[in-house]
């Protein structure tokens, strides 16, 4: 086999030499024979004749020699390709439309598939990824089944010594911390991990080692591992960094390792410090993400059953609600990492696949129309003895050439789109970078070839049944357009319309979701307010007194800046994710409900005023509420609606930890990014506010969240930021600002996923609609051309222009109508798939369906009427004479 391929290759590569050689060799043979014959006494003229005759046809021998070397196949291919290129160049309009359609479809597919591949299919970048799992809790409660990703310290203790599993835990979020390098304070992103984290992922370090168990114990030595990027950026790649101390979070940490440049952590981070898991405080609640590797000697079922038995034993009663049954389980990490992106990705992929399908259908119907006009050419070829197989191969080669050219253009287009999307993708939590790798490339080339088969096969199939006599005759006289030859094209176009409508409805639902989310009242006035965060996860700010002194002193300075209207500090801002805590009620009927969830924010006086959050009852928190005064809090309306329906809110007491805070006011709701079930991407979550002066858990909450300074003023943004910066620097020069932003930017961030999927699906739906319109246009205009004579006769017999126009446009309108009906049915059947992505609109929303259906119908009618208008220019006399 190898010898054959080598011989084929050299035959193709040195074709000229081979042909010359063959020629020479055969000639030598014949002449030598002739000479021998002459020598044996045959007359020279007779010898020449005899030698030629005995040998037979030189050309046949040559052809057989070529075949012996397998050269027939490349020969025919080459001939077909050359012919195809010539044919395609002869009809530039058709070629251009087809190529553009294909380029757009393949381009969109390349771009989307590269994202789908990055999210769903590319193996996670760790050793033996199929053995990696995330530890989850399956919770079954009446009316609610769920999967909980987060684990507490007890679960960690329970699984730490599992036989079939190696586990590692991390705090599932990265938090800004302060790093002083040289004399410049920086805010860098930190994630806390347990010892063994890198071992479980199977990722070696560039330098040094990972955390030891000693360092991972509460009160253990302070140590840090740097990311490659931070090491290069801040420490200039210092090879002797391991063992040196850096000033981090207000105290010295020894650098014990540096991660590799290729390491992609599950939570993006600049550096890592030990998690120090415990069963109290942070570990008392479900705050850890646990990753597990199934040990080599065990398999998944064993690991799952051990996680189930050991892990579930760590749950305390009522941990997941009064009537819930919970069991610990393992989910493949690969699947978990795709996470919430999974559904949108699959929807998007299906959508872009539909666009490709519509594109194919379009091209197929174009090909079909072309096939009709080429019937005569093909009939002639068959009549002259061209084998049907050869004709079909020729037609398939034509479509393959088209699809490969269009496919390459599409891949180039997709490549450009990927480059544009790379930066965006990072922000959307697509943590494995997008790239046009060989996998994507191979899939796309295969897809474009598959399209050629799909759209090339139909016309080729028709050719194989072409009736030579009829083709030649019909091509000659062009009678009334046959009913038989057009039904296939019309069905194709109707299905295009149906598919297009499906996409349009999907896009409409997502756009309505986005509009709904954007229309939700923010509950505050963010115009002219800037925010800046400062990390207080700092050894020097563990004490509540110091934190409050920092707030009071900096706010005093900021407020005294001319042009500043008001300023305050809060742990959270609207559109962010807030701290969740469990609270109880001390009095009234609510006292019987037990522990309930709420979000909690600590604020400095002036917070509500600065954000212009409305007061509904009682009073705001203010200067009267000090560390020593009666503990108080303010709740929002959602909180009252949820928990305090049956009693006056003002005057009730909430138990948080061991202190009882009296509710002194009710404020309006603001939008938050909920960490709780049952809300959309943003929503008015029940919330409680406590005065910063009376808050005691700074050390803990500052591990997870950085408080924000907010300033409202008439100054330009830059001046406001400078006021905050100067004030903080003058109180503590080692505290850097991070995440300086206008508060409205948070909303855009909170809704970016919805915006992206709505925009992408709308783009695809637009493309699909355009293609469907082109399809309808093509079929109608083609039928007008074919029916010129028929329409001419009708008009000559007295049909009005109106009637002729209607008769010409009718097939398009009928097709579109049928397509819309089928599309509505399909969309109704499939739209529940979108269910989890929709908010404020039902999957079967009649308005969206009606609007999309009517819109598409309108466009289809337009696309039918425009080509039918040609009838107006039809001169009956000429139409008749022309034939």
């Amino acid at each position: 086999m190898l010898a054959q391929l080598r011989s084929l290759w050299s035959g193709i590569r040195r074709r000229d030499r081979m042909e010359d050689g063959m020629d020479e060799e055969l000639r030598f043979h014949v002449e030598q024979y002739e000479a021998d014959l002459v020598r044996s006494g045959v007359a020279p003229a007779e010898a020449k004749r005899l030698s030629r005759m005995r040998f037979g046809s030189l050309e046949v021998a040559k052809e057989q020699c070529r075949e012996a070397r397998w050269l027939r196949w490349p020969d025919e291919l080459q001939r077909n390709v050359r012919f195809a290129v010539r044919v395609l160049r002869k009809s530039p309009g058709f070629t251009a439309v087809t190529m553009i359609t294909l380029a757009l479809c393949i381009g969109a597919n390349t771009a989307v598939y590269s994202v789908v591949d990055a999210v769903l299919f590319r193996p996670i970048p760790y050793a033996e990824p199929e053995r990696l799992a995330q530890v989850v809790t399956r919770v079954h409660a009446p009316g609610m089944d769920g999967i909980n990703d987060d684990q507490d310290g007890a679960a960690w203790e329970a699984l730490k010594h599992a036989r079939s599993l190696e586990v590692a835990a991390e705090l599932g979020l990265s938090v800004g911390v302060n790093l002083v390098a040289g004399r410049i304070p920086l805010c860098v992103q930190q994630t806390r991990i347990t010892s063994g984290y890198f071992r479980v992922l199977g990722v070696p370090l560039q330098l040094g080692r990972e955390f030891s168990e000693e360092e991972d114990r509460p009160g253990g030595p302070a140590a840090a591992i740097l990311s490659h990027d931070l090491w290069m950026r801040v420490f200039a790649g210092d090879p002797a960094i391991v063992g040196k101390a850096i000033l981090l979070k207000g105290e010295p940490h020894v650098v014990i390792g540096v991660a590799r440049a290729t390491f992609r952590p599950m939570t993006p981070a600049d550096l890592w410090t030990p998690l120090r898991p415990s069963t109290t405080g942070e570990g008392g609640g479900e705050n850890y993400i646990m990753t597990a590797r199934v040990r080599a000697a065990f398999d998944w079922p064993q690991a799952r059953s051990e996680a189930g038995s050991r892990g579930s034993a760590s749950f305390h009663s009522g941990q997941f609600g009064p009537n819930a049954v919970a069991r610990m389980d393992l989910l493949p990490l690969q699947e978990v990492r795709a996470g919430f992106l999974r559904t949108p990705m699959l929807v998007l992929w299906a959508a872009v696949g539909i666009v490709l399908l519509i594109g194919c259908v379009n091209i197929a119907s174009l090909m079909l129309a072309r096939g009709a006009s080429r019937a005569r050419e093909i009939g002639t070829r068959v009549a002259l003895g061209g084998g049907r197989g050869a004709v079909v191969r020729q037609l398939l080669t034509e479509s393959a050439v088209l699809s490969l050219a269009g496919g390459l253009a599409g891949i180039a287009l997709g490549y450009a789109a990927i480059r544009g999307m790379t930066a965006v993708a990072e922000g959307y939590g697509i943590w494995q970078g997008l790239r046009l790798d060989l996998r994507v490339l191979a899939v796309m080339l295969a897809a474009s070839l598959a399209t050629s088969v799909v759209f090339g096969l139909v016309p080729a199939w028709r050719v194989s049944r072409v009736d030579v006599r009829a083709a030649l005759l019909e091509g000659g006289s062009r009678a009334v357009a046959g009913r038989r030859s057009s039904w296939l094209g019309r069905t194709l176009v109707a299905s295009e319309v149906a598919l297009g409508l499906m996409l349009l409805i999907g896009a409409g639902l997502l756009v309505r979701t986005l509009l709904y989310l954007r229309s939700m009242p923010p509950g505050f006035d963010g115009r002219g307010v800037i925010a800046a965060s400062v990390s207080l996860q700092d050894a020097r700010y563990r004490d509540a007194g110091r934190v409050n002194r920092l707030y009071t002193q900096t706010l005093e300075r900021i407020r005294s800046t001319p042009g500043v209207e008001s300023a305050s500090v809060g742990l959270h801002l609207p559109y962010e994710r807030w701290l969740n805590i469990g609270v109880q009620f001390k009095d009234g009927p609510a006292a019987k409900t037990g522990w309930v969830n709420t979000t909690l924010n600590y604020v400095h006086p002036g917070y509500f005023k600065t954000l212009r959050i409305g007061l509904r009852a009682g009073r705001f928190l203010d200067e009267r509420d000090t560390a020593t005064s009666q503990p108080v809090c303010v709740v929002n309306e959602a909180f009252v609606r949820k928990y305090l329906r049956d009693q006056p809110a003002i005057g009730s007491h909430i138990l948080m930890g061991n202190a009882a805070a009296e509710i002194v006011g009710v404020v309006g709701d603001v939008q938050q990014r909920p960490g709780l079930e049952g809300f959309g991407p943003i929503g008015a979550v029940y919330a409680a506010y406590v005065p910063a002066t009376q808050f005691s858990g700074f050390e803990l909450v500052h591990r997870w969240f950085s408080p924000s300074w907010i300033v409202r003023g008439s100054l330009p943004r830059r001046e406001l930021v400078k006021a905050v910066q100067n004030a903080i620097r003058s109180v503590d020069h080692l505290l850097p600002l991070s995440r300086v932003r206008a508060i409205d930017e948070e909303r855009d961030k909170a809704l970016r996923m919805q915006r992206l999927s709505a925009a992408l699906l709308a783009t695809l739906a637009g493309l699909a609609m355009l293609l469907a319109a082109v399809g309808v246009y093509g079929v109608v205009s083609n039928s007008v051309v074919q029916r010129t004579r028929e329409l001419g006769i009708r008009m000559a017999f007295g049909a009005s222009v109106r009637q002729a126009l209607l008769s010409a446009a009718r097939p398009g309108v009928v097709m579109a109508g049928a397509g819309v009906l089928v599309g509505l049915g399909l969309a109704a059947a499939l739209s529940p798939v979108l269910g989890t992505l929709l908010y404020g609109v039902k999957p079967g929303d009649p308005w969206t369906f009606a609007a999309a259906g009517l819109g598409l119908l309108f466009i289809a009618v337009l696309a039918s009427v425009i080509p039918a208008m040609r009838v107006l220019r039809l001169d009956p006399a000429r139409a008749l004479r022309d034939e």
Binding site: A3, Q4, R6, S7, L8, G21, M22, E24, E25, L26, F28, H29, Q32, Y33, A35, R54, F55, G56, S57, V60, A61, Q64, C65, E67, A68, R69, W70
Partner: protein
């Protein structure tokens, strides 16, 4: 097999192969001239014979074929198989009634 055998006796050009086969078969076998070359090309394609350009007896440029190692092996295998077959056929044809 015949071509391989002919070529195994020394490098030959196509016409030479034809003559050699006729000669060693005592003119019993005649090969159709036109089909010789496709056969040669097929053998070369399979890597059983190699070829190079040389000069013929009367000083003309000609393509000479020779056996490759793979060809030598194939010739041996085919010869053995042929011997076996012809022995079997001879045995069958030479059988007399008493021996059954």
């Amino acid at each position: 097999m015949l071509i391989l055998k002919a070529v195994s006796l020394g490098p030959l050009h196509g016409y030479g192969v034809l003559l050699r086969i006729q000669q060693i078969s005592g003119n019993l076998l005649e090969i159709e001239q036109g089909s010789l070359y496709p056969a040669l090309y097929r053998l070369e394609h399979q890597g059983l014979i190699g070829s190079e350009w040389g000069v013929s007896e009367n000083n003309r440029k000609a393509k000479f074929y020779r056996l490759t190692p793979a060809g030598t092996k194939r010739l041996r295998v085919e010869t053995e198989q042929w011997d076996l077959l012809s022995l079997a056929v001879r045995n069958v044809l030479g059988t007399v009634p008493e021996e059954v």
